[in-house]
């Protein structure tokens, strides 16, 4: 997909554009004014919570390092991992992903891993 289009679709701009259309639609519909005010108040509250949450998550995720490390030669998982890579015709940098590391740690810490 086009990068600019993707930025728009998954960013704030699309969200606020849709909200503007929703406000317009609610204003044009024959809703009682009290109900309309309640709708607007609740939507404003949800938008404020969303804005705070997205800023907080964005800041925290940028601070967090979701770890990745390439297994060393003496690692117990090195031999099966290399065999797997060869089987799938992949290169060694496929092992640098966080979930591979996570699986490796899990195997190292469990009875199944020790048995294998």
């Amino acid at each position: 997909m086009n990068e600019e289009m993707s930025k728009f679709l998954y960013g704030r701009k699309a969200y606020y554009a849709l909200l503007s259309i929703l406000f317009l639609v609610l204003a044009l519909s024959p809703l009682p004014s009290t109900a309309l005010c309640w709708f607007l108040a609740v939507i404003a509250f949800v938008v404020a919570v969303t804005e705070l949450l997205s800023r907080f998550v964005s800041r925290r995720l940028s601070e967090m390092e979701i770890g990745s490390s390439i297994p060393t030669e003496d690692s117990i998982m090195a031999i099966p991992a290399m065999a797997l890579l060869k089987g799938f015709d992949l290169t060694a940098d496929a092992l640098s992903g966080p979930e591979f590391h996570q699986t490796e740690v899990w195997f190292g810490n469990t009875a199944i891993g020790s048995f294998a």
């Binding site: 699309a14 949800v46 992903g97």
Partner: protein, 173 residues
């Protein structure tokens, strides 16, 4: 003669049960997931980090798809039966149908794309860059986590409007 309120009031019981179940089992599900993750990491991560990783797994895209699907189902039901508040406030009902379709399509696309894209290093986006073994179980990147929050929030607002219209009719506001 049956009026709209007689049709809407019986739905509040099941809805209350659904909200109660969500309140209890939603956090429980997050707790179960994060417990597994904590056990696999040495030293164990903080709970807040586990919840953030749960968000980075793309769960809010799935929440958005499910919620928008519910809104679409209610709107379609009311339009085919020719009764109900989304049918009476037609402009709102049509908007909710269109927007829930938009959310379902784009959140589904984003979820799979984000899963695949983050597997590729150095900000190469697009599933054609992804490593085979990382595509399904990988986390999504930071920009997509924020996007998933926006999508979930808008789907939630659509559900609030749907139920709000029923409430307006029930209490004759």
């Amino acid at each position: 003669m049956t009026n709209a309120s007689d049709l809407i009031i019986p739905m509040f019981g099941p809805m209350a049960i659904w909200i109660l179940v969500s309140i209890v089992f939603g956090p429980f599900q997050v707790w179960m997931g994060t417990s597994k993750l904590r056990r696999r990491r040495k030293p164990p991560l903080a709970w807040s980090e586990c919840v953030l990783i749960s968000l980075a797994d793309g769960n809010l895209f799935i929440f958005a798809i499910g919620t928008a699907g519910g809104v679409l189902a209610v709107a379609l039901m009311e339009f085919t039966r020719g009764n109900g508040e989304l049918f009476n406030f037609r402009i709102v009902g049509i908007f909710l149908m269109l927007i829930s379709l938009f959310i379902i399509v784009w959140a589904a696309h984003a979820w799979t794309d984000a899963k695949a894209a983050h597997s590729a290093k150095e900000n190469n986006r697009g599933p054609h860059h992804a490593r085979l073994i990382h595509t399904v179980h990988g986390l999504i990147d930071r920009r997509d986590v924020v996007g998933s929050i926006w999508y979930a929030s808008f789907a939630f607002i659509c559900a609030l409007v749907t139920e709000g219209l029923r409430l307006v009719a029930t209490i004759n506001l």
